[in-house]
Subunit: 192 residues, 2 copies
């Protein structure tokens, strides 16, 4: 396996720290320590911590979209794929003991007013995510598994919003209850 | 009117800064500047920025609960009081041009893993808020305006969660669309 270059190493190694501690509480020193590279090398690869932050949002979104392979399994019914996608996110939050939440949500609240490049990347990640959900909702409508008069685009966005709120609460309460509540809301109020 | 003491002045003056910039991006100097008092005086009144943060959560929660007086008007139907309470929050976010979001949500993502005293205060604020919504939901059930088989406690919590997600998204998108979507979700999916 080729050795990852220092730039990739900085992005990968900083993800866990930025996810757990947040952007402003993480120093460049924390990042270079996590990557095991000299502090001075950071600015050879990134113009700023903000520039790294944009890349970390991208990496995180890719990771989050691939948490459960069955989400991509065309043999499964579309609503089941949606449920499994969220269930995999519930499991990841439980495993992290609610210490991290969703990086997109964290950066939304912490950085939207502080960094326009990061805000735009976060916004693009939400759009990709919602578009994927929308595709599955439309397929469910074609198959008669979801009411035909639902606005699939709006429903997909509302599900993303409600998920973000549930993760935020699970972090505040240090509890899985908000995540379990979301899964019930998903079945009872969204996917009818 | 009596002159507010310096402690109260620090709490009141720091609220807007902490709401807009977040906790870790706000220095003690920012806070004493906002309050117009010497930096050195801060530690005469608070053991730490964290101790001030707890008081700011309390002040913010009181303010948020009183955004629209009609929420407390017993002459209005309970579901209408719930709608007006959220509509007032929508207006406040639009007025702030989506730069601030909800302080409870912001601190939930930024500080839950960093400060146990602030996390506990935020959690207590959510509990108070949900309890108020629950009381109105139970009243609506008694009056036949809401299905009797709804679990009012769970529904109240789910509404708080969904609201937090909508505010977080409105900050990330710099748009009122997620807030308008929440108001529709409230009527279509929660208050049926």
């Amino acid at each position: 396996m080729p050795k990852p270059n220092v730039r990739d190493q900085l992005i990968t190694a900083s993800l866990a720290t930025l996810h757990r501690k947040g952007f402003n509480a993480t120093s460049v020193q924390d990042i270079t320590d996590a990557a095991g590279v000299p502090k001075g090398s950071f600015y050879n690869h990134f113009a700023s911590k903000e520039a790294l932050g944009v890349e970390v949002v991208r990496l995180y979104s890719d990771w989050a979209a691939r948490l459960d392979a069955s989400v991509d399994d065309p043999a499964l019914p579309p609503l089941e794929r949606i449920r499994r996608g969220f269930a995999a996110k519930v499991d990841a939050n439980v495993k992290a003991e609610f210490a991290c939440g969703c990086l997109l949500g964290n950066f939304s609240t912490e950085l939207s007013a502080q960094s326009e490049p990061i805000r735009q990347e976060v916004s693009a990640s939400y759009a990709d995510w919602a578009a994927g959900l929308q595709t599955l909702l439309v397929q469910a409508q074609r198959e008669g598994a979801l009411a035909a008069d639902e606005n699939a685009a709006e429903l997909a966005q509302a599900m993303v919003d409600a998920w973000q709120g549930a993760v935020l609460r699970s972090k505040a309460e240090q509890s899985r209850a908000p995540l379990d509540r979301f899964m019930k809301t998903l079945d009872k109020r969204f996917l009818q």
